[in-house]
Structures are given as structure tokens and as C-alpha cells.
């Protein structure tokens, strides 16, 4: 059974936030990054499921973002995931949930995942869109 877990790397909320030069997002200077807390729950849930089902489960974790997200992927590999996929995208922070969902869909479409875990929302942007089990999201993204 192939399982996909989608995680996001977000700034530590203890950090001091300043707007970036363009005024579109926060400046990354002096920020510490970590795995989005809700996504950690998703990983934990997937790992627990694997513990129940045994070795038949193959657990892939995916993250979209710049080089630094590799650290978040390492962390969840240590938590018990089997393989990690990094979709290199320095502009990920500026993409809306629809675009992010489209990237994930493009990756996952032909991989035969039977189950996808995600966190409820991200701690930095908090859109809670593409993974939310609301009726409107039942239509699959392109």
C-alpha cells in the first residue's frame, strides 16, 4: 500500500517577522524553520498506520519549496517515512492553494497512492484549502 504525506516547512512562530522587500510576504532573514505542526500530526498518523499494517506500506513524504525544505524532509524521514520527494520551487510561498494542489496532483497522479495524509492547515499562511474535507473540495484539482 502506497501512502503519500504532504508537509510544509514553515517559520518557527517564536521568530520575529518582518515584511520582505517586495511587501508581498515575510522576509526570511533571521527566521528559523520547522515542519508545520499540523503536518507533523499527519506524518505521525501515517507512521502509526504503517506500524499497524507492517512492511507492506510504502510511505512517501512530499514537500514543495526552496532548498531549505530538505531539512524538514530529513526530519520526517527520521520520524519513520520511507522516501522523500522535494519539489524544488523557490517561489512556493507566493503560490495559492490551487496552484500548490495542482503541483501535488501532477506528481501523485500516476504513482498509485491509495491514501494521502495532510495537515489541517499551514501555520504561516493558514489557508486550509486544498486538503480540507469540505464539500467544495471534493472536485479534484486539475
Amino acid at each position: 500500500m502506497k501512502i503519500l504525506v504532504c508537509i510544509k516547512q514553515v517559520p518557527d512562530m517564536e521568530s520575529r517577522f518582518k515584511p520582505d522587500g517586495a511587501g508581498l510576504w515575510f522576509s526570511e532573514q533571521d527566521l528559523a524553520f520547522r515542519v508545520n505542526e499540523y503536518d507533523e500530526y499527519a506524518v505521525e498518523e501515517a507512521v502509526q498506520l504503517r506500524e499497524q499494517l507492517g512492511d507492506a506500506v510504502d510511505l512517501t513524504v512530499l514537500s514543495i519549496g526552496p532548498d531549505r525544505v530538505v531539512e524538514a524532509l530529513k526530519k520526517v524521514l527520521a520520524m519513520g517515512c520511507d522516501r522523500a520527494v522535494h519539489v524544488q520551487d523557490p517561489q512556493a510561498a507566493l503560490k495559492d492553494p490551487w496552484q500548490i494542489a495542482a503541483i501535488i496532483a501532477a506528481f501523485a497522479r500516476d504513482k498509485g497512492f491509495e491514501l494521502i495524509f495532510t495537515g489541517m492547515q499551514s501555520q504561516d499562511r493558514g489557508s486550509a484549502q486544498w486538503a480540507s474535507p469540505s464539500p467544495s473540495s471534493s472536485a479534484s484539482p486539475p
Binding site: D12, S15, D30, R34, A78
Partner: protein, 671 residues
């Protein structure tokens, strides 16, 4: 009159052949008894303890022959050592008899046990026997009548006491019986050189010569078989420590105190990190269990055991032995239990006092490594949070890493990244950087440096936790990650950093010793010795102001680094009058914060810091001085929970000194 005695008197030379046959049999049992244990030692991983041979033999001479480690605890130590020397002299005496009668006299007709030497020999053996007998009596009183708390008596103890008493007593009776026939009447001058034998001879005077001779024959064989039983029993009873303890001195860890094996985390073939079973430990860890004599000196000094926690270093060592010899496949951490393993503060009191040089702390850390790296276990949820905080922000508090250097605002301190030339790099550490109370210590240290004209640089937000608490909690991966980042940062400024100074003994140990394995070679010093040297060189002058205090030796400055005198000298130079606590110097009692415990809630037993605060209170000094951020934190906390704020304050050495700088007016820098 001949000044000697007839060897094999009464029993005759016919005994020689059966005697040697039985002796060889006893020695064969002895060798077999030890040999069958070696396969268990071999379960452990390899470790070279055969380097530096002269130093190793020197350790054996000091500790086995001269008994220096045994004598560290004076009363029971003296009983043991005097017994050992007494019994040793008797053993050597027996060998001399053997050498003369069955070798030199037999083959070359050389006799040396005569004349003045025989008189000396006779007197020395008599007194040695007496001393051994008295000491054995003392040990018997201690074990069976006084019964010190924690001293466990097992079958071996009854057996060994009975055997040794019987050997010594039959020896004197045989001597007395022989003297009653051969010396008392006919050679009284010689009898004077056997005063104890003389007393026994007097007791048997009433018997006829033939009665004495039959008694002598029987007792001679009884004594002989007792002695052979003793030899044969060595590998099978506690007596084995005669050889395993001696070997343990030889196999001592010669690396700097506190050295931990730096795991190669890049090793792709490694399937196990830390110790899950005995085979993940080294052979020396298993051998240690065989050297243990259950003297419980470690247990008596263990801060965890003293506060009703389940950890006894002695029992951990013995459990490793039990598992190795009975169920080598068993999960070691489950046998020892994680409550026991997480209770250790790595204070090293156990290892420092152990009379047979057992290494307790690293065994516990190896098992913690298994818990942490293989099982993902934590000492508690609060520790899980702290470890997460280290990963994200490089400090246990979870505070923004970018604010790490803010404690230094307004002080004459250079940020290394700004390119200034500095005399020292002050590695402040997490507590001095973020903890309000300990920021006072960092500021005090900078003021001291400023006053001495020492230019201080800091890494500020580039600094991360040194990794010590994580490492001691078994998380070698996190330790090495942070350590490597720190080392890379420091190396960037390599040319400008001639010396690193820390105010934290944990940072000090880690940077000075552990970082060497990862490539840091810059000299590292603790602020205490640095200040002591500034004073000595006259670069720093103080205006002494009298104060009463008691000094707490932190584990990592004291026992780990043997820094005991300099802090006391500095505090005396500041005008302090010291009242020592009950436990000080190498016997100091941990604050409870070491081994990563500073990050964990103390949920088992009583609180270690309160115990230490009570000891400080007992001195009636109003000030408890330490020089470790963990100690200061634990004491500030303990003073509040004990509720003795009115009578006792806690302060750091740097604060005391900073408040007495000759060049600046006394500021509100603390006590």
C-alpha cells in the same frame, strides 16, 4: 641452637607429592573457573585497553598493591587494605617456604630461611597473620553487626569470611602446636620471634608430645585443604575481585575523563546505535561487572539513589553482568528500565569513588543512545519539546535564535561577524544567552574582561547549543549536528580566535574535549580558571569586600576537570570566607541538572536540588556560590521550593568578582 625450623616437620616429606597434586588440581579449577567466563567477556565489542603499558602497570601497582583507591574511604578501606597486606605477606611467606624446601634446598642445598632472616621472616609472618585476623574481625563486625545501610550480604560473604577465618586460625594453631613441641621448651629464644604462635603454643602445653603430633598432622592437612579451597573458590565467588579488580586497574580508561565514543553516524552499514543488548557494549563493560565487589560506595554517593530514585550505579553494573552471563540476548534497556537510565545526572560521583575503576556513566549513556536513536524515546514530554526546540532554534527554550546575542546589548562586546579583533571568543551557551538569571553571569563575565583589558567577541545568533544535554540524553545525532555547525562557524573566524572561554562547565567540557573528535583544536577554558589567571598575572585587581559563603563544586568543573582550588582562591581574593558543605571537592553532590536532566521534570523521588540546598543551609553561610548555569538555575529553584530565600541566596563566581572590580564602582550585578 639453630635459628630456623624444620620444613615439613612432623608431616614428613611424603606429603610433598600429594600436596602438589592437590595444589595443581586447585590451580586447574581456578584457571578453568576464569576461562569459562572469558567467552562472556567476548560477547562485548572490541576495545583496545593494552596501550600505554607502563602507565597501566603503574595503575596496578598504585591501586592493587598500594590500594590507593580502596583507601579513599578511610575506615572500611583501611580494614580491607591491612587485611590484604597481611594476607599477602602470609602468601609470600608460604611461597618462600616452598621455594626453599622444594626448589633451592632440594636442587642446590641452599637454605635462606635461617639465622637473622628467619627471625625476621618468623616475626613478619606472625604479625601479618595477627593483623589479617584483627582486620577480618573488623570487617566481620562491620558487615554482620554494624550492617551499613545498603550493604547487601550474600552467600559468598558468609563463605569467604568463614574460609579466611578458618585459614588464619588453623595456621596459628598449627604453628602453636609445632612450637609447643619444638621451641617452647628447647629454643625459647627463637619462640620470641613468633609472639602469636607463642600464645597458641602456651594454650596447648598441657597435651603430650604424641597428642600434639597427631593434632598437628590432622590440622596441617585441614589448613592445606582450606588454602586450596580458597584458591579454587576465587573464580566462583566474590573472591574473584582479587584478580578482576587488579585487571580492571590495568584496563582503566586512560582517555580524558568524560570521553564518550563519537558515533560514526555516516556509517551506512551500522544497524544499531547505542546499547540494546550486552553485545552492543564493549567487553570492558561486561568485565566491569565481574570486578564489582558490591561495596556500594557508588550507590552511597549517587544523587539519584540518595533522593529515592530507582537508579543505583552498582545495580546497573551488576545487571549488565547478570544479563551477560544468563541471558545475553535480552534487551538490556528493558532489564535496567528507562526510569533508571533517565535518572542519571552523569555527575560521575560513582566512577570517581569506585575502588575498582568501574566505568558506570558511559554504560548508561550507551543505553540512553539506544533509547534515543533507535527507539525514539525521551525522558519525558518536556524533553521531547526541548529537543525539538534545539532542532529549530538551537536552544532548549524555543526562543528565536536571532535573539541569542541580545544579552550583550550595551556591553563592550564584539560580534565576530562584524570582523573585530578579539582576545577571546566567549561561548556564552544557551542559559547565559536566554535565561534571565544567567544573563547576569554573562554580563558579569564581560565586565570582568573589560576591566582586565581583555577584548571579548561573541558569536551572537550564529552560536548554537554546544549539544551537551542532547548528547548526554543519548541523542548523538542532534549533538553532532549542532557541534558541527558551531565548529564550522568558529572555523570561519579561525584566524582571529586564539582562545575560547565559557562560563558553563558543560560547554567547557564539550568544546574542550568532545569537539576535538569533530575537529576543533582551539584552546578552551572555563571562566573560573581564566579569571584566576587574570588575577595571578595582575591584569585584574579586585577591591576585596568580606562575605561569607559556601562553594558548590559543579560536577563538570570539579570531578570531570579536577578544578577545585582556583575557584576557592578567586573567591578568597574577593574577600570571601568559605564554609565547606558536608560534601565538597571530589565528593561534591550534584545539583541535579547534569546529564540533560536540566531539561527534564524530576518526577521520581525527592528533588536533588533541594537536597543540596539543605546541605548549603547547614553551613549557615548566607550565600551559595557555584559557577555553572545549570547549578545556578537548580539552586535558585531549590531555594524557592525549600522556602529559605531569607537565609540563603545563590550566586555565580563571576557575579561575586564583577561586584568587586577595583576599577569600577560596585554596581548591582548581584550578590
Amino acid at each position: 641452637m639453630e635459628v630456623s625450623r624444620e620444613i615439613y616437620w612432623n608431616v614428613g616429606h611424603v606429603v610433598v607429592l600429594p600436596m602438589y597434586l592437590f595444589a595443581f588440581a586447585a590451580i586447574a579449577v581456578f584457571i578453568w573457573g576464569f576461562y569459562r567466563r572469558t567467552s562472556t567477556y567476548r560477547l562485548g565489542k572490541s576495545l583496545n585497553r593494552f596501550d600505554h603499558l607502563p602507565q597501566r602497570f603503574w595503575l596496578v601497582a598504585r591501586n592493587a598493591l598500594v590500594q590507593l583507591r580502596v583507601l579513599k574511604v578511610l575506615l572500611p578501606g583501611s580494614l580491607h587494605s591491612l587485611f590484604f597486606w597481611g594476607f599477602g605477606v602470609l602468601f609470600i611467606g608460604t611461597l618462600l617456604v616452598m621455594a626453599q624446601s622444594d626448589f633451592f634446598d632440594l636442587l642446590f642445598h641452599i637454605k635462606f630461611l635461617q639465622g637473622g632472616f628467619y627471625e625476621f621472616f618468623s616475626l613478619a609472618l606472625d604479625l601479618a597473620g595477627l593483623v589479617a585476623l584483627l582486620m577480618l574481625g573488623g570487617l566481620l563486625v562491620r558487615r554482620f553487626i554494624v550492617r551499613p545501610k545498603g550493604l547487601e550480604t550474600i552467600r559468598d560473604d558468609y563463605l569467604v569470611h568463614a574460609l579466611l577465618f578458618a585459614i588464619l586460625l588453623t595456621g596459628f594453631v598449627i604453628e602453636g602446636v609445632r612450637m609447643a613441641v619444638t621451641e617452647i621448651g628447647s629454643n625459647p629464644d627463637l619462640a620470641r620471634f613468633s609472639p602469636v604462635g607463642y600464645l597458641f603454643a602456651e594454650a596447648f602445653r598441657g597435651l603430650s608430645a604424641s597428642q600434639l603430633e597427631s593434632l598437628h598432622k590432622v590440622l596441617w592437612w585441614v589448613h592445606f585443604f582450606l588454602a586450596m579451597s580458597f584458591i579454587a573458590a576465587i573464580p566462583f565467588t566474590k573472591l574473584r575481585h582479587i584478580f578482576t579488580a587488579t585487571a580492571n586497574y590495568f584496563f582503566s580508561d586512560l582517555s580524558p575523563k568524560g570521553t564518550l565514543a563519537t558515533i560514526d553516524l555516516e556509517d551506512e552499514s551500522a544497524e544499531q546505535f547505542g546499547a540494546a543488548t550486552v553485545s552492543d557494549l564493549t567487553w570492558k563493560d561486561i568485565f566491569d561487572a565481574d570486578a564489582c565487589t558490591s561495596c556500594k560506595r557508588c550507590q552511597d554517593r549517587c544523587p539519584a539513589w540518595s533522593t529515592d530514585k530507582p537508579l543505583s550505579p552498582m545495580k546497573v553494573v551488576q545487571q549488565i553482568g547478570e544479563v551477560a552471563f544468563s541471558a545475553p540476548e535480552a534487551n538490556l534497556c528493558e532489564t535496567v528500565t528507562s526510569d533508571v537510565l533517565w535518572s542519571c545526572t552523569t555527575c560521575r560521583a560513582c566512577q570517581e569513588i569506585c575502588p575498582v575503576s568501574i566505568e558506570h556513566v558511559n554504560k548508561i549513556i550507551e543505553m540512553r543512545r539506544n533509547l534515543s536513536l533507535m527507539e525514539g524515546a525521551f525522558a519525558g514530554d518536556e524533553v521531547r519539546t526541548a529537543i525539538n526546540n534545539f532542532e529549530v532554534n538551537g536552544n532548549p527554550f524555543g526562543l528565536a535564535y536571532a535573539s541569542r546575542g541580545e544579552w550583550a546589548e550595551g556591553l563592550d562586546v564584539q560580534l565576530m561577524e562584524e570582523g573585530a579583533d578579539v582576545d577571546i571568543l566567549y561561548f556564552a551557551g544557551c542559559y547565559a544567552s536566554f535565561d534571565q538569571r544567567n544573563q547576569e553571569v554573562a554580563r558579569s563575565f564581560v565586565k570582568i574582561c573589560n576591566s582586565a583589558g581583555v577584548k571579548v567577541g561573541i558569536l551572537g545568533k550564529e552560536e548554537k547549543c554546544c549539544g551537551e544535554p542532547a548528547r548526554k540524553l543519548g541523542n548523538e545525532y542532534l549533538y553532532q549536528t549542532m557541534a558541527q555547525e558551531n565548529i564550522e562557524t568558529i572555523k570561519v573566524y579561525g584566524g582571529r580566535v586564539r582562545q575560547i572561554v565559557t562560563t558553563c562547565p558543560h560547554c567547557y567540557n564539550t568544546l574542550a574535549r568532545d569537539y576535538q573528535d569533530l575537529g576543533l583544536t582551539i584552546p578552551v577554558e572555563h571562566s573560573t580558571t581564566f579569571i584566576a589567571r587574570l588575577l595571578q598575572e595582575g591584569r585584574l585587581t579586585l577591591t576585596p569586600e568580606p562575605f561569607e559563603f559556601t562553594y558548590h563544586d559543579s560536577c563538570y568543573l570539579g570531578r570531570y576537570m579536577d578544578i577545585f582550588d582556583q575557584p576557592r582562591a578567586v573567591l578568597a581574593a574577593a574577600g570571601g570566607r568559605l564554609s565547606e558543605m558536608d560534601k565538597s571537592g571530589p565528593e561534591s553532590f550534584c545539583c541535579g541538572g547534569g546529564g540533560g536532566r536540566i531539561l527534564a521534570d524530576e518526577t521520581l523521588g525527592r528533588r536533588i536540588n533541594e537536597e543540596r540546598v539543605h546541605m548549603a543551609e547547614d553551613t549557615s553561610a548566607p550565600l551559595l556560590v557555584s559557577n555553572c548555569p545549570f547549578c545556578l538555575t537548580m539552586f535558585e529553584d531549590g531555594i524557592k521550593t525549600v522556602g529559605c530565600e531569607e537565609r540563603l541566596r545563590a550566586g555565580d563566581l563571576a557575579e561575586i568578582v564583577a561586584a568587586r572590580l577595583a576599577t569600577t564602582s560596585t554596581e548591582e550585578t548581584g550578590p
